[in-house]
């Protein structure tokens, strides 16, 4: 079994970006990290419903982690970069593998989420850039820098409400989160398949679980802009518009 294909040097870190299956492993693992972040971020965000004090204290706690915060951010950035890089690379390879398409082609099992992963992924990335500029860098709205609560903490609560009171920003956010959950409805079960943690029996459960999880996350995320637009979450007294 000593043929040239095996003989080709396949040292460890390199194989992760050269072999098709190893690339899928990296896609699954980095996707899992991003998925974990998205779940944690939603739980963090939902604290806004507990009240201004809770969410501001949570934000303060995160920011007081100092270097640890940057360690986590760095790890996330590395994962996202790998996910995008390999995702794009695999997509291009797969286009190249079928240079001429069919005049007629019927899809029997696949769905829209699976076929649009690269596009939903690209749009999610564009949204993430905007989202970071809006709420982390706070460069889209000059008012955000001047919001402080009575304890002198940065007033995240008012910032989110001010941001989402703009129907266009809320609308964009809802669409983007929808695309994210669409992406996840395929991604959540696919990572199990790619890592080999799937068989004929688990398949239906994993796919069902992915849909339910993605739907719950969608509802969780959009509840905030909807609550703001619906007037359920209001600016506290003393914050001038």
């Amino acid at each position: 079994m000593n043929n040239t294909a095996v003989a080709r040097a396949r040292s460890f870190p390199l194989v992760l970006v050269t072999s098709s299956i190893a690339k899928k492993f990296v896609m699954a693992l980095t996707g899992f990290v991003a998925f974990g972040y998205v779940v944690g971020h939603m739980i963090g965000n939902l604290q806004i419903f507990i009240g201004q004090n809770q969410i501001n204290a949570y934000a303060k706690a995160l920011h007081s982690m100092g270097p640890l915060l940057w360690l986590v951010r760095g790890f996330l950035i590395v994962c996202i970069v790998l996910h995008i890089w390999l995702g794009a690379q695999l997509r291009i390879e797969n286009w190249v593998a079928r240079p001429d398409g069919y005049a007629r082609k019927k899809s029997l099992k696949t769905g829209l989420p699976a076929r649009t992963m690269i596009w939903t992924g690209a749009l999610i990335f564009a949204f993430v850039i905007y989202h970071i500029l809006q709420f982390t860098v706070r460069s889209t709205d000059p008012r955000f820098e001047e919001l402080f609560d009575t304890l002198g903490r940065h007033d995240v609560y008012s910032m989110v409400i001010l941001g989402f009171q703009n129907i266009w920003i809320s609308g964009f956010y809802i669409v983007a989160v929808g695309l994210l959950c669409f992406h996840l409805s395929h991604g959540i079960w696919s990572m199990f398949q790619s890592l080999g943690w799937n068989n004929k029996r688990s398949e239906r459960w994993l796919q069902g679980f992915a849909w339910i999880f993605a739907s719950v996350m969608f509802l969780g995320y959009i509840s905030i802009p909807i609550a703001v637009l619906g007037g359920f979450l209001k600016l506290p007294g003393g914050v001038a518009l």
Partner: protein, 259 residues
């Protein structure tokens, strides 16, 4: 019944190729799809036109030679059958039928519907065997194999290597084929000896041939004439993970990738 066929005609590997309309008259509902093409070809030959070239051999659904995409579905819309086992009774008088070859960079079209599938042979040659003489058939139960494993191995071994999985896959990936060929051995004690080398070599060859990679569309399992499940690909991924671990950490490494 009368049918209008839209057939892919391509003179040679380098020809551009095009869909041509060919009328099929006097088609009996008892014919198989290939017999229908035989009748059409008799007609074409009588008229002095080059007949439609297509691959075929056993015509009983076990050899894996026949290969055409019929109305956008590899092997036609009848589930779990090859083209030769697809009968004309599933079509209606006046139907338009689109007949195209398998399309993938790794399967160059030789003529009309005939494609070169030797890429699959080269993947087999890379590791799809066990490298000891096995002699004649051993006595039953001389090597005890759990029934469950024997069944799974047989399910994988049902693959006839027709390439429909590649044709149906939006990425022209051969992973269902490779998964079946890796798994048929990986489930059995005789095959486990070389399991890591095998999966590693076959996947490397698969990549070198220019096949795409799996993005879990499951189109392959929908068209597979032997109904091999796409979850078999997860088995191959497990095997690959194991091989990667062994190659990286050496022989002494404890296996964590599962059996």
């Amino acid at each position: 019944m009368k049918l209008t066929l839209h057939v892919w005609r391509q003179k040679s590997r380098d020809d551009k190729g095009r869909l041509e309309i060919i009328e099929a008259n006097n088609v009996s509902t008892h014919m198989s799809f290939l017999e229908m093409l035989d009748v059409v070809n008799e007609d074409l030959i009588a008229k002095g036109i080059d007949p439609i070239h297509f691959d075929h051999d056993c015509r009983e659904g076990i050899c894996g030679m026949c290969s055409m995409v019929i109305n956008g579905v590899a092997h036609g819309h009848q589930k779990g059958t090859t083209v030769c086992q697809l009968h004309m009774r599933y079509f209606n008088d006046g139907d338009h039928i689109f007949i195209e070859p398998w399309r993938a960079k790794a399967f160059p079209i030789l003529k009309d519907l005939v494609v070169d599938r030797s890429a699959l042979d080269r993947i087999m040659r890379a590791g799809g065997f066990i490298s000891v003489r096995t002699g004649g058939a051993p006595d039953g139960n001389a090597i005890p194999i759990p029934k469950d494993d024997a069944e799974k191995s047989m399910d994988a071994a049902a693959c006839i290597g027709c390439g429909a999985c590649v044709a149906a896959c939006p990425n022209a990936s051969a992973m269902l084929f490779v998964a079946a060929k890796v798994s048929q051995f990986a489930y059995l004690p005789q095959g486990r000896v070389e399991r890591e080398k095998r999966v590693s070599a076959m996947v490397a060859q698969m990549d070198a041939e220019g096949f795409g990679s799996c993005t879990n569309h499951y189109e392959c399992e929908a068209v597979c004439p032997k109904e091999i499940p796409a979850s078999m690909i997860a088995k191959m991924n497990r095997e690959y993970c194991r091989a990667l671990k062994k190659e990286t950490c050496g022989e002494s490494a404890k296996s964590w990738a599962g059996a």
